[in-house]
């Protein structure tokens, strides 16, 4: 039992995580490419034209995975934050910081694709639909997190303050989502829902799931790339960083 904990902490140290992440990144890129390829093939070639929405509905194949990822990344981020507060591990804060921009991009993509889907379907770029509105607020939450961390100079304080914000956010996300939904039904908003749109055919579901996997792998790969940069920035003056082959100039 004790041994296991020690092992865990070994990989939770930036020093051992840095090379580990370096080894994992190419694999995640490969998986992202494979799933992305299959996903795109299903999106454009396997999935039939929708009788109601024509070809426009193909946007859903990236809209839904982006929306899923934006919510999922926020939860993962809050998880790392909680871990960092509870165990005081340095890596947790760095992971949370590395995930935030990717999450913000996913939230942005879900807004952007939502707007591009909405224009032909609803006749307007923006509709105060419950999903779009909550995605917008989620986007604000990400921006707030990034801005708070950027404004605090001491990285340890930035990590902890960010962690509290992420935890407060994660408690609020379901409340916000629920309240926006409530608000929307009360006001008889848009009648066409974005995801339930056409009856979900099996190919469509598969396409969406595979695309979601591709997005997932992409997010992990890019977050790991970023966390490697953050580790180097924060640990710049430690011995192990000075002994890295890529710093000594023997590597690369």
């Amino acid at each position: 039992m004790n041994n296991k904990i020690i092992n865990w902490f070994k990989y939770a140290s930036p020093q051992s995580f840095y090379p580990l992440a370096g080894k994992m990144i190419p694999w995640f890129w490969a998986l992202a490419a494979i799933f992305g390829g299959i996903g795109l093939w299903i999106t454009f070639f396997a999935a039939p034209t929708d009788f109601q929405q024509g070809e426009g509905y193909r946007i859903i194949f990236i809209h839904v995975p982006a929306a899923w990822m934006s919510m999922f990344i926020y939860i993962v981020m809050a998880g790392w934050a909680a871990l960092g507060l509870a165990l005081n591990t340095r890596l947790s804060g760095m992971m949370a910081q590395a995930l935030a921009p990717t999450g913000a991009i996913m939230a942005f993509l879900s807004l952007w694709t939502g707007a591009f889907w909405g224009k032909p379907m609803w006749g307007a770029w923006w509709v105060w639909d419950a999903r779009l509105t909550s995605a917008l607020i989620l986007f604000f939450l990400y921006i707030g997190f990034i801005a708070l961390q950027a404004a605090i100079d001491d990285p340890r304080r930035a990590d902890k303050a960010g962690a509290i914000l992420a935890l407060v956010g994660v408690v609020n996300v379901p409340i916000i989502y629920f309240s926006v939904k409530w608000w929307n039904t009360l006001h008889q908003g848009a009648s066409v829902s974005l995801t339930k749109a056409p009856t979900m055919a099996a190919t469509m579901l598969w396409g969406m799931l595979i695309m979601a996997l591709a997005f997932w792998m992409y997010s992990i790969a890019v977050a790991l790339t970023r966390v490697r940069a953050i580790i180097l920035e924060r640990e710049a003056h430690t011995e192990w960083v000075k002994e890295l082959p890529e710093v000594k100039g023997t590597g690369q």
């Binding site: 801005a147 404004a151 902890k160 303050a161 409340i175 009360l186």
Partner: protein, 221 residues
């Protein structure tokens, strides 16, 4: 409990010594609310429909105004350090400070809102619901706002950052608060909105002082 009362007494005494801050927020509320009809036009039916929304958004902004100064003066003169080091649990002292913030900014808004509501031709019952909704909602604003104020304490560009952090978290309060009055006007009954608002308040009373305390300890490290 004594400690909470002592902090409230202290902060109210301080607020009395610098009345202008409290009054500024209050006048801001009145002015913002009065600007909307000028921007939208004097059509009574439309104004009546959007009145709850306007009053609530103005209340959010007015609360924001004083929020940056919730902990900043105490931080600047070292009182906050003493609070952290006091034998009294910090959570209690912070609860007291939040309560005092509500008494000085939230409560005046609640009392003033019906007067402004009359300008928008809300009937007596709608005004009553507006007051109840604000009575439940403004403490919620103070509680959530305190977390943001603690997180941005002593941070570069804290004021702007504070609104970026806090306003998205105000969304549920805004929706249920303004929704209560609207639901009443459209004949749906405000009970559901008000009980949800009360539930949020209960959650925040439990959770917000804890988060604020943690954020303050980090800010002072």
């Amino acid at each position: 409990m004594n400690a909470i009362l002592a902090v409230i007494r202290r902060d109210l005494l301080l607020a009395m010594r610098r009345k202008s801050e409290v009054l500024t927020a209050l006048f801001f509320f009145v002015i913002v609310v009065s600007l909307f009809p000028l921007g939208i036009g004097p059509e009574a039916a439309l104004l009546k429909k959007i009145a709850p929304g306007i009053l609530w958004v103005a209340a959010l902004l007015a609360t924001m105004l004083g929020l940056a100064r919730l902990f900043a003066p105490d931080h600047a003169d070292g009182t906050l350090e003493q609070m952290v080091l006091s034998p009294t649990p910090l959570g209690l002292l912070i609860t007291g400070k939040i309560a005092a913030h509500w008494i000085t900014t939230g409560l005046p808004l609640v009392l003033l809102a019906p007067v402004l509501g009359i300008q928008f031709d809300l009937d007596a019952e709608a005004l009553g619901i507006l007051v109840v909704a604000l009575l439940l909602g403004t403490p919620l604003l103070s509680l959530i706002g305190a977390i943001g104020a603690a997180l941005t304490l002593g941070v570069r560009g804290g004021g702007v950052l504070l609104s970026l952090l806090v306003l998205p978290l105000y969304v549920p309060a805004l929706i249920f608060g303004a929704g209560a009055v609207e639901a009443h006007i459209s004949g749906l009954g405000a009970g559901g909105h008000l009980s949800l608002l009360a539930a949020l308040l209960a959650l925040a009373v439990f959770f917000a002082p804890w988060a604020t305390t943690a954020a303050l300890r980090i800010a002072l490290e």
